[in-house]
Symmetry: C2
Subunit: 206 residues, 2 copies
């Protein structure tokens, strides 16, 4: 759960200049990899700086702490997820398929978020951007229920929770994925299972 | 994914004696808490020893490494899960409800397993006890399909993967759980949602 978000709009004077943007981008990319690999406690700012071809001091000039850097990367990932996966209430099975594709293409995204869920469990607050994302999807589902596109007997939060969870069935359970016979483990088949399960629960509008 | 399992049957001569069993139990209990809180890389054997009222040397006399201790604890947890949740192929929604109860009662279990999934992702092998557990559940489902209790159009591995995943809908997504309005967030209601979702996918045999 990303907590507070580092301010990403203002560069400090110490890091302003022509190459500031590209240095900052390299730091964020290196941080993404480091956090996905090792989590927050396990990440080392030294290694992030080295992989971004800059100094530890420079990293702290952009981001005040390792935690602020994590929050920034997690918010960026959440935005990328929302942009890559458009929720169409008339086609929830299709939405589940697109979520599945995102998890397959970006295993580092899933790892990054899962580390945060474990390591930030004590902070019960959810970041504003993430709250807004969830709220906006809930509003779409409520409107679709009012217009008869989605079965009104479900609470929208349950629809969202179940679809997200089902889309992550294999990425979230590597031990079951590993136990699958090879004929069952093609991506195409797994994607079809996710889509059919969601179709059974939340059928496409006719 | 637990990897190799530490041999737990033989005590070394250095730790034999009347109190050996209870020391060992205290080490395992302290390790469970430490791994659930901090994961494998973040766990400290010093702290485990201190919380178990023993020495670091004694911990290593029982378990050859921190990783071996994790593997032992994870295997023990997996056994406890299997014992607490009996798979009845004629009542898969009921099985999902019991799994849900286990995750609610033992959030430390879910955390322990999730850390392992992240931290041991590179080891593609699944421990023998875990493989055997999965295989035995798959055999039950196959037999139930042959006798007509369970729809044969599903691959048993997909049934198992979906039920496990759906049962963990809220424990696995704390940010969605936190976004739920309070009326939606009672355990009773969440359990009912898990059971209905699985009932829709894999109805009880008549």
């Amino acid at each position: 759960m990303p907590r507070a978000i580092a301010s990403s709009e203002t560069s400090s004077p110490a890091v302003a200049g022509d190459s500031a943007d590209s240095t900052r981008e390299r730091i964020v990319a290196a941080a993404m990899q480091e956090f996905a690999d090792r989590g927050i406690a396990g990440a080392r700012v030294d290694r992030i700086a080295q992989n971004a071809r800059t100094s530890k001091e420079r990293v702290y000039a952009y981001f005040r702490s390792k935690e602020a850097l994590y929050d920034h990367v997690a918010e960026r990932e959440m935005t990328a997820l929302v942009e890559a996966t458009d929720l169409d209430p008339a086609d929830l099975p299709g939405y589940a398929g697109v979520l599945f594709d995102h998890f397959v293409e970006r295993p580092d995204h899933y790892r990054l978020i899962t580390w945060g869920r474990l390591e930030l469990a004590e902070s019960s607050t959810v970041s504003d951007p993430l709250s807004r994302t969830i709220e906006s999807k809930l509003a779409q589902l409520r409107a679709a229920q009012r217009s008869g596109l989605v079965d009104s007997s479900w609470d929208p939060i349950d629809i969202l929770a179940l679809i997200n969870q089902i889309a992550a069935t294999w990425v979230g359970q590597p031990e079951i994925a590993a136990a699958a016979p090879s004929a069952s483990s093609t991506l195409k088949r797994r994607r079809a299972v996710v889509v059919s399960a969601v179709e059974c629960l939340f059928p496409r509008a006719e």
